[in-house]
């Protein structure tokens, strides 16, 4: 993409991540996931979208639109919330081999 985009691409590669939320002990309930930004790697600090937390809010999603609500502490979610963050290593290289995707999403020949 050329030098013009170099810094932006580097920043994106360094800070991009995926966040997944699930319920402890209930793998069958599935999980919710979204993208995020690594604000600091060590110690690890990530900012991601709040939508994946609505199923875990103790007071339900109504807490998000309560008057004057600008933030909710971490314990606003139930104790069975489990979070995982996946980010790419800091050094990018082109090694590796291709793998086909999983069922549920396909890339039809067109």
């Amino acid at each position: 993409m050329g030098r013009r985009w170099g810094s932006a691409m580097r920043a994106a590669e360094l800070t991009g991540c995926v966040v997944s939320a699930s319920r402890a002990g209930q793998p069958e309930a599935g999980s919710w996931s979204c993208s995020g930004v690594v604000l600091s790697r060590s110690p690890g600090l990530v900012l991601c979208h709040g939508g994946i937390f609505t199923p875990f809010l103790r007071a339900g999603s109504g807490a998000l639109t309560a008057d004057g609500a600008a933030f909710l502490p971490g314990n606003s979610c139930t104790d069975d919330l489990r979070l995982h963050v996946l980010w790419s290593p800091t050094a990018a290289s082109s090694s590796g081999r291709a793998e086909r995707g999983r069922p549920g999403l396909c890339t039809p020949q067109c």
């Binding site: 810094s7 996931s33 790697r41 060590s42 990530v46 109504g62 609500a69 979070l83 790419s88």
Partner: protein
Amino acid sequence: AGLEPGPLTRPRGPPLQPPRPAELLLLLSCPAFRAHFASLFGGEAAELWRFAGAAPDDEVSEDEEEDQLRALGWFALLRVRPGQEDEAKDRGPAVAVAPLGAVSKGAPLLACGSPFGAFCPDIFLNTLSRGVLSNAAGPLLLTDARCLPGTEGGGVFAVRPAGALVALVAAPLCWKVREWVGLSLLCAAAPLIQAARVVLSSLPSDAATLAALLPPEEGAPWGLPLNDPVPQGAASAVLVECGTVWGSGVAVTPRLVVTCRHVAPREGARVLVWSTTPKSAQIWGHVVFATQETSPYDIAVVSLEKELDGVPRPVPAENFHEGEAVSVVGFGVFGQTCGPSVTSGILSAVVQVDDTPVMLQTTCAVHGGSSGGPLFSTYSGDLLGIVASNTRDNNTGATYPHLNFSVPITVLQPALQCYSQTGDLGRLRELDNAPDPVRVVWRLQRPLPEAPRSKL
């Protein structure tokens, strides 16, 4: 879908490290974002808009949709458990943040997200998409970079300030009156991180120490300014209101505005023209010319009662290059409330009859309200054409914003010049008698007796 154990060897780089456990520190929102969201998309407009990870026809329960809407402007700050191999060199903020307003409309942006979230991270993690800042209302930003469900929360980065975090994706897809708009909704990062800094500092001590890790805002100057002529072009875009219909237009001279016939169809009708740059102005005018319904060219010309001050005169292009970078400026999406939006793409086709360009197609996102607006060359800033329509599949009702059609300015320029110099409409009237081959090219514009037209 969740983080699947899946293959950790990665076709796009070194192997992924196993996912790390994390804890939720806080959920936060940007009050200014939510206020702008409410004013632009709330109230009466709420019915028109849909923001969701799924298309309007997908099965999403009302509760789910309501949850999604409530959470749209909320973000979460997480603390990630340290890994063994955390290296000293990784300490400290991983990115700088662009101050609010540092990126101008039309400036290039890079979005980075993982479509479908944790599904297939070896393929989808950190997928990039390029676009521009299409519009801004405070910290509520719009971009035409393609974002998909799962990229919510992904970062959007600037070319200038180089590599600075500008925003996070709030809603990747939005529909207006069931038409896909082709823009993604973003929340500016600076006010969000500032809100996090304030809240963290008020929490017990170990959380407060994290406040120091939050990335700083990039100080000015942000390197050489981009020589982007688009903002200049955007200044000649105006909003045209005729009765209850409104659309976009181009001030080709301080007293003459070109728009589409379906925006201002009746000669003699009074029209109100709004310009927003360099300052907000409203000037009355009247339609001096509108092509016939049977003409292939959907064009109208408005003469203003007084001059539009300070609006730069666009330079009409003389030739077109398929594949060149182009930008469309139009008042779709927000109408008068927020100034024109800019979308970017390439000139995907120049359709000719007898070696004369008679239709331009682009990949810019063009949506309802954009018709009549200007199509520019991104690099030269020259005016290429007048946007006439995007595309709709009358069988499915699906709209394709990224396939749209413009009238080349070379078709209009001689007639406009003649009229503005002599007041003679003769050359404009010739547009009603375009030869048949031209009609064939523009045939999709003609009303189908039983189905709605592909109009903006």
